[in-house]
Amino acid sequence: MKQKVFKFLGWVALLFGLFFCLVQSTVTAQAKTYQIGTDVTYPPFEFANKQNKYVGIDIDIMNAVAKEEGFKVNIKPVGFNAAVQSVQSGQLDGVIAGMTITPERKAKFDFGTPYYKTGVVMAVGKNSDIKSFKQLKGKRVALKTGTAAADYANSIKKKYGFKTVTFDDSNNMYEDVTTGNSVACFEDQPVMQYGIKQGLKLKIVSSPANTGWYGFAVKKGQNTELRKKFNQGLKKIQANGTYDKIVGKYLGNKTNPKVKGKTFTIGTNVTFPPFEFANKHNKYVGIDMDLIRAIANEQGFKVKIKPVGFNAAVQAVESGQLDGVISGMSITNERKAKFDFSQPYFMSGVVMAVGKNSKITKLSQLKGKRVAIKTGTSAADYANSIKKKYGFHTVTFDDSNNMYQDVTTGNSFACFEDHPVMKYAIKQGTKLKIVTKPAESAPYGFAVKKGHNQALLAAFNTGLKDLKASGTYDKIKAKYLGTDDNGSVAKTAADDAGSRSFFGLIKQNQGALLSGLSETMWLTVVSIFFATIFGVIVGLLGVVPSKFSNGLSSTLIYIFRGMPLLVLALFIYTGIPSLTGTKIPAFIAGVVTLTFNEGAYIAAFVKGGIEAVDPGQMEAARSLGLPFGKSMRRVILPQGIRIMIPSFINQFIITLKDTSILSIIGLLELTQTGKIIIARNLEGFKVWTIVAVMYLIIITLLTWLSNWVQRRTKV
């Protein structure tokens, strides 16, 4: 891993690396490293910041103390319960996790000097008149289950005569108050304070009640030295102002947009089962999909899933077109340079798969052979990293099915794929077998653009933690991979065996295919409309008597005719937003792409058509005193258009075909629809046949239309 960083970031990384090693070695030379557990996300006490580094009051205090006392800490955000348990079992040395000092806990832990005073506060809507508990009489109050704040509220509920409603999660509780369903909520003071600073539309109206103290804890009777050092260090940082600085930093004036109620567009792969794929009803499902939806649900934000393909998704996140990507994306150091990753949510590894009857079982048998890989995947990275050693060469595909097909057809001898993906595909009927053990085990993470969408990232982490705690996470995983290795997945493979005939496939996918076709037609019609306007304007610029206009026209034609449509599409969809910072919907990006590209061709034949009109016609018109524009409109264009009509119709057909290229930016037109259906049922030949026939039918109709129009204009 480190080597890769060096390779990719060159000298900068080398210097950083050296610096890092230096710091590490000097510290470790005289210092002991303590393993400290903490919560995954408990802002403002611990959470991952923009650089995906753990920060927060707890973390900063711990680090400051360690620095002061000359020891080293390795802070592990394993979650509150896990941290507490690990300390008890001796796997961790201590825990700092907003842990309230209670008599029960004192029986099992030794606490350091209390470092933060907390208490329960009541918060109400920003414009609310409620100032005291008395005003709650008969009103509804929101609580979060199992918190000290809820315990407190319940203890005073009778006295003040209010009703309570409980939520599983703070955000939902807050929302219940901001929407006015409840008039107030109870929450730990620092948490509430931090939330308000981050933009919650609430205000705190009571002084802290039921106050308690957070403490740093070690296992009872163990790590006495660590506890002593913590106490000494805490005293020092409280004396020298560091402590106040830390607390002020988090509860001071920082703002951060909240995720609640917001809609995030999340990119994913077109097909990467079992993580993402369209099911029979063409709804996107899979581990990634279910997970992100569950998290969104839990955290109170909405997601719009954009199955644009892995590369497109990654690029779109980089360019800011999409807010995040969840796409079985391995967390690698290279990627960390551009993305902020969530906590890993899945552990994967790379396996080699070969044809069912292949005799290849070892990497060493690949010598001189061709191996299929999928662009930009960690499996591809792995294959590339060992390709020299084992002497094979690689061929790259953009999507998994094409890669598998290359192996099943015998073009390639093997492919490399993430273990769960390969397993799922084989269960679905792909005629391959896995021949190696998972290598390069890699964590999958949800990613956002580095330094952006931190609220979303934090929400993902919180949500993930919650889902893991509630068991939802395991349920999702089991749904796709089975509880054991031969899980329930096999069933889905068998269930639609009856509908694998041509007609079965057409019937089953009728809706998807027709909607794909209609998207294709829309794209074509809208694009050709704008392309015609653009083309005619640029074409006319090419024939007006102005050197500047002529040059402009030639340049535009040169650029847009010279650029491959694919590159233009990607440039407009992912490049422009990087430059301007504004997102472009895929459909509009598609129309713009076709407008420029097809428009350039139209411009060329508009210009050509006009130039093909006898120049004597223009001279005769001008000699009568008709200005250039009128001569053009009344004499030249009517004759030029007659020359252009066949080219126009031809261009219409070409545009229709070119829309298929826009599947690269995730437009759900006919080609992309085909890809998605195949991703599910792996019936490549049959589905592509259906799609091809659909294109041919439409194009035949257009050709008839064109002949008819041409016949009419000739008369």
Partner: protein, 245 residues
């Protein structure tokens, strides 16, 4: 006899090719001037410069006391008063015969559609083609097309008519019809500048004949002076060549 058009020191170069080398020419009202000269001598260029289909390189072209070669002039209005007839007719092939004639008067708001079509019919009658009003351009013979082209040029009521070899693309049996229309026009007092090789027409109709060679006017005078008593050697050569063909 008042002066209609005066060309002074007219020079036209195409890149390095000096085609007109300082032309001085005066044309009076009602005068018919025939320009003759060998191929490539600059006759068409001179004629086309007179309505700025070719932009003059230098020199002045004064029509009715206005220098139309100067920058500020609205050339479109100037052209409304100068009819031009081309060797290859250049009728608008997307329009019918009647529409060809009506286009400019209607577009330039000189006449309403009704006035224009009445006038077009009248003009067609004068060129002997009243039956062809609705015909397509493609259905006409060359001679008929050229007569329509003359009618089209006349529709804007010009003061001056320019003809650039109006008969040289025609079959011999059609030349007469076109020349007859032109003679008629000359009789009515139209100021005409005609580039042609029709010596008979020149002798009969021209008030003055101008011999152009190598971008210069080498001799000019009455038809009798030029054809019967040519002084310039190159003119003599030229006349010998065409009369002996």
């Amino acid at each position: 006899m008042s002066e209609k058009l005066r060309v002074t020191n007219l020079v036209k170069t195409f890149g390095t090719n000096n085609v007109l080398k300082g032309i001085n020419l005066t044309v009076n009202e009602n005068e018919v001037v025939v320009i003759i000269g060998p191929s490539g001598s600059g006759k068409s260029t001179l004629l086309r410069a007179l309505n700025r289909l070719e932009e003059p390189t230098s020199g002045s072209i004064v029509i009715d006391n206005v220098d139309i070669a100067s920058k500020g002039v609205d050339i479109d209005t100037v052209r409304e008063n100068i009819g031009m007839v081309f060797q290859h007719f250049n009728l608008f092939s997307n329009l019918s015969v009647g529409e060809n004639i009506m286009l400019a008067p209607v577009e330039l708001k000189k006449e309403t559609k009704e006035q224009a079509s009445a006038q077009a019919k009248k003009l067609l009658k004068t060129v002997g083609l009243e039956a062809k009003f609705d015909a397509t351009v493609q259905s006409l013979s060359g001679g008929q097309q050229q007569r329509v082209a003359i009618a089209r040029a006349l529709a804007m009521n010009p003061d001056i008519m320019l003809f650039d070899e109006p008969t040289s693309a025609l079959d011999p049996e059609m030349v007469g019809d076109v020349l007859a229309v032109m003679k008629d026009l000359a009789k009515k007092g139209m100021t005409m500048i005609v580039v042609t090789h029709e010596m008979g027409f020149a002798k009969e109709v021209a008030d003055r004949v101008v011999f152009v060679d190598d971008g210069q006017i080498l001799e000019q005078g009455t038809p009798d002076q030029l054809f019967e008593h040519p002084k310039n050697e190159r003119l003599q050569d030229f006349l010998n060549k065409i009369l002996n063909v």
